[in-house]
Symmetry: C2
Subunit: 208 residues, 2 copies
């Protein structure tokens, strides 16, 4: 399954030529006439394969910039390449601040768009990989009981079992049991692994 490029532009002729160009370059495309139409397509916002969005900034109804903000807010992983006929600097700056991959004023060279799309897809692949990894780690954390989670956070500080035991006012033996369960449930083969898992999803130790 080839990478999917979503296109949102209110101008039918632009949609048509973009689709022609991108398909000729080997991409699968899906075009929408408005931000509203695109938002109505739920699967589009959670693609299985790396995907990106070629988006017109100025459109009737929800603008491209607003669509971007909505998608960012919703946590949708979909790098955006903006194209604009009547954009201005503040618009482009805003788009870039919100994480756009590029912002191309019309007219642009075909190669410019293709390069930007290529970059967007690379970014999408990276983000998707990270997201999947994090989701898996969070899934494991959710299987921990409250107490196990507590011990987890103490263990990654590097404290000794006996110290953690004193901190939680239980015996060292209890910590050992919880600790073993944490390692099992988190599928960590070593403390080093456990620390890295915690770092990846930003689990803070109870200290500081």
């Amino acid at each position: 399954m080839p990478p999917a490029i979503f296109i949102v532009d209110d101008d039918p002729s632009v949609r048509k030529s973009l689709e022609r160009l991108l398909r000729a370059s080997g991409y699968k495309t899906q075009a929408f006439a408005s931000a509203e139409d695109f938002l109505a397509c739920r699967p589009c916002q959670n693609p299985k394969e790396p995907a990106c969005l070629v988006l017109d900034v100025r459109m009737p109804g929800i603008s491209g910039i607003n669509l971007q903000q909505e998608l960012v807010k919703a946590g949708v992983i979909l790098p955006i390449v903006f194209i604009s006929g009547h954009g201005n600097i503040p618009m482009s700056v805003q788009a870039m601040k919100n994480g756009a991959v590029d912002f191309l004023p019309k007219p642009f060279a075909e190669e410019e768009l293709l390069a930007a799309v290529e970059q967007a897809l690379t970014k999408a692949a990276r983000l998707q990989k990270e997201t999947v990894e994090k989701a898996e780690i969070r899934r494991r954390v959710k299987t921990l009981t409250p107490r196990e989670y507590e011990v987890f956070r103490w263990v990654i500080t590097g404290m000794l079992n006996k110290e953690i035991a004193a901190e939680l006012k239980v015996t060292e033996k209890t910590i050992k049991v919880h600790r073993a369960r944490v390692m099992q449930k988190m599928k960590a083969a070593s403390i080093a692994d456990l620390v890295r898992l915690a770092e990846k999803i930003g689990i803070r130790s109870p200290l500081r």
Copy 2:
């Protein structure tokens, strides 16, 4: 010592009004008439306090965009707020891609500039802190002997001493000695600490 704002603009009247505005807001300022002049000021590129740069895009000689690229290439920590009289979209996009904090077309409201400068200084403080931390860790790594460094990279995989010993074709005893020295020199109180130090400066384990 108040935060320093460097100003680079070829227009004397712009320099003057920027300095007046920023000084009235409590900042220390230092203005330059060209990118070349700024580059000639070595201490400006390695400020002790958080600092930032208010930079005109279009200037005779080295342009603002080029100056930015030079600074990025040189690893200078100096967030940039661009101001431009005759900028265009590709310019602003390029600037933002290179990490600019903002890109303000003239005329801009004073509050816009002040807000951008504030943001730039916050960013500078964060970057400086991170850089100092990393430098300290790298300094410690440099005190490791080649063999100790080797053992370091194996230790953070979570492998047992005996396994590392087999890998390096030495006895477990030897690994213990190296390992102890690594912990000492890296000032790590636990494996958890050591792993975090390694992560921060991106030390890869010998595996994959």
